[in-house]
């Protein structure tokens, strides 16, 4: 399969600090891949470079063969990349369903004058928007919360709503920034399942940043490890787990061993 996203020698600096350093990266279509690394290793910065929040000083990022580095975020989203955020960033004062409707923005085409005179096309489109929004909420199981203010939702529901909002833009590549942060093991297990299902139902490619090693090891087909903005390892989960540089810089011996112990039952299930 062809890679859907390719990054070549991407470098991003903040003042004197090199946040991402000549990073090469690829992700196959329909894959689930993870980026891990210690705090401040440049993971989120890399995400921001992909989605257009940051402009890398050097390097090329290609999405479906088109260069996207330096484009504005709205253009990139329209091309088919959507994301969620480390610390949930919903439109808090809008209702859940409105959040999803905003997500559909790049897929809608009609203008303000259509809205003012309610042209038949507009009425049709709005009806479709509403139906799809309800469908999406159905999919993530939030219909009961549809008309509630987004920031009054429980934590887990907010995480899912953020994903629904991202899905609404009909992305091909979905970036998830720590999707299981703050969840207990049970919820985490559910989220893992959900991400897999997501990929299959929507034919997505998923790239995630995660700290929870259990999640990363269970779900990823490929893992990239960053440290100080540089890629120090890349490969399948088992390879990464054994990689001495990764253990030294990131996992620590205890965690590495504890991980395999804890991993056993999870895999058994």
């Amino acid at each position: 399969m062809a890679p859907i996203l390719v990054a070549r020698k991407v470098t991003k600096r903040f003042g004197g600090l090199v946040a991402v350093n000549e990073l090469d990266f690829e992700i196959e279509e329909h894959a689930i891949a993870s980026v891990i690394g210690p705090n401040g290793a440049g993971k989120t910065t890399f995400f921001n470079c992909i989605t257009g929040f940051y402009v890398p000083e050097e390097g090329v990022i290609e999405f479906e063969g088109k260069e996207i580095q330096g484009l504005r975020p709205d253009k990139i989203t329209t091309m088919g990349i959507a994301r969620t955020y480390q610390n949930i960033r919903l439109f808090g004062k809008m209702s859940a369903i409105e959040n999803v409707m905003v997500g559909m923005h790049p897929r809608l085409s009609l203008h303000w004058w259509d809205a003012v005179i309610h042209t038949p096309a507009f009425v049709r489109q709005e009806r479709k928007v509403l139906r799809r929004a309800w469908e999406l909420l159905d999919y993530i199981g939030l219909t009961d919360w549809a008309n509630h203010q987004a920031n009054s939702l429980p934590y887990g529901a907010q995480r899912r709503l953020e994903i629904a909002r991202a899905l609404a833009s009909e992305p091909k590549l979905l970036l998830l920034d720590e999707p299981t942060a703050g969840m207990n093991p049970q919820e985490t297990a559910e989220m893992i399942e959900f991400i897999r299902k997501l990929r299959d139902d929507w034919n997505l490619t998923i790239l995630l940043i995660e700290h929870d090693m259990k999640v990363v090891m269970t779900i990823s087909e490929k893992i990239t490890v960053l440290d100080f903005g540089t890629k120090i390892a890349e490969g399948k989960p088992e390879e990464i787990q054994r990689n001495p540089r990764v253990i030294e810089a990131y996992l620590g011996r205890g965690a590495a061993s504890g991980l395999s112990a804890a991993e056993a039952p999870a895999q058994a299930a």
């Binding site: 995400f47 921001n48 929040f53 940051y54 402009v55 580095q69 330096g70 484009l71 504005r72």
Partner: protein
């Protein structure tokens, strides 16, 4: 690709037509300003001494702006709210100074012991301003600290009206004359320029106050607590900092600056009136934003910048364009300059650069 092509590519991708329009807009204004300046320099007959005088006038007016702007910036830095009533706090400071000065004058102290009198007047003005500021904080701001951002802005506007018209009811609607001080009559000569003594005093005092304020905020325990409260009130409270008290102290500090400004203003302009806080208030707000709101040296710089531009602008830029009565348009210059600065530095002269967004 070489460096230059890369740059070009970057710009092409990042910016679109509206950005170009903005720059063209800015450049057009700049071009007009430059043209006007060149024409002015060619056609008018001001000698270098005159130009220098414009600058000196601007600095002394700017000093007053700067002192008021400091109050705006201090409060903004901690509460992230525009204290619209700050101009009125300045006005009350001036009234406090006025009544003290009148009393001293009556008793013969005003010209008998000028330095002592000045100190007394300064203290009274600072106290008056502080009392008003604390009152406003307590009644109009504190209960709304957790409300949406625009709500305290409206109560601030309400407080501004209330204070203004309270002063009007209490002290009358006409101007009150501030007593002259013999000590401050005449001028001193600096680098061959005559500067009025009261103006020189304004420049010196405003610089001293600002330096003192900077030191206070950076070095003292309270100053550090202020900065901590500015960043995160809950965490600051967890350090054992009484957040309410620190906010009150901030208001007092800002109000004291306004009180000093009130005295200096009265010493230069000799008039005290209920409406006097409005225009300087707006100007100081402008100055604070110009310098980068929340930033102490920025407020100072913004104040001087604004003062100088107001003073110099009409003669330097507009006169050459053949515009009649250009002094009337000094605020147009001031605000246009503000737009220009913000187009190219969206967070003010010394504001933190947020050229790239955080996600």
């Amino acid at each position: 690709m070489n460096q230059w092509q890369r740059r070009l590519e970057y710009w092409r991708r990042r910016y679109d037509i509206t950005d170009v329009v903005v720059w063209l807009f800015g450049l057009a204004i700049l071009a007009v300003a430059v043209y006007g300046t060149v024409r002015s320099l060619q056609t008018t007959t001001y000698d270098s001494k005159r130009w220098a005088q414009f600058v000196v006038y601007g600095i002394s007016q700017g000093g007053v702006y700067a002192l008021i702007a400091l109050g705006y910036t201090l409060v903004y830095g901690i509460l992230f709210m525009i204290n619209f009533a700050h101009g009125e706090i300045f006005m009350f400071g001036a009234f406090g100074a006025l009544f003290t000065a009148l009393a001293l004058d009556k008793a013969g102290y005003w010209n008998g012991h000028p330095v002592l009198s000045l100190i007394i007047v300064l203290l009274v003005a600072m106290t008056t301003s502080s009392v008003i500021a604390v009152l406003v904080e307590r009644v109009a701001y504190r209960p709304l600290r957790k409300a949406p951002r625009l709500v305290p802005l409206i109560t601030a506007i309400g407080a501004s009206f209330t204070l203004q018209y309270t002063a009007r009811s209490f002290f009358g609607s006409g101007l009150r004359a501030f007593p002259e001080m013999d000590m401050l009559k005449g001028s001193v000569s600096v680098f061959g320029l005559d500067i009025g003594k009261s103006h020189a005093l304004t420049i010196v005092v405003s610089l001293l106050m600002m330096a003192g304020l900077y030191w206070y905020v950076q070095k003292t325990k309270t100053g550090k607590a202020m900065r901590a409260v500015a960043e995160n009130k809950d965490v600051a409270a967890l350090m054992g900092i009484d957040v309410d008290q620190i906010i009150v102290r901030t208001f007092i500090l800002g109000a004291s600056m306004a009180g000093v400004a009130g005295v200096l203003y009265s010493l230069i302009f000799f008039q005290v009136k209920f409406f006097m806080g409005f225009v300087p208030g707006i100007k100081a707000f402008t100055a604070a934003v110009l310098g980068g709101i929340g930033n102490i040296p920025g407020a100072m710089l913004g104040g001087y910048f604004l003062g100088i531009f107001e003073s110099l602008g009409p003669a330097l830029i507009l006169e050459g364009l053949g515009i009649p009565a250009p002094s009337q348009l000094k605020d147009v210059i001031a605000f246009t300059m503000l737009v220009m600065v913000l187009i190219f530095r969206p967070t003010g002269i010394l504001g933190e650069a947020v050229s790239e967004k955080r996600a």
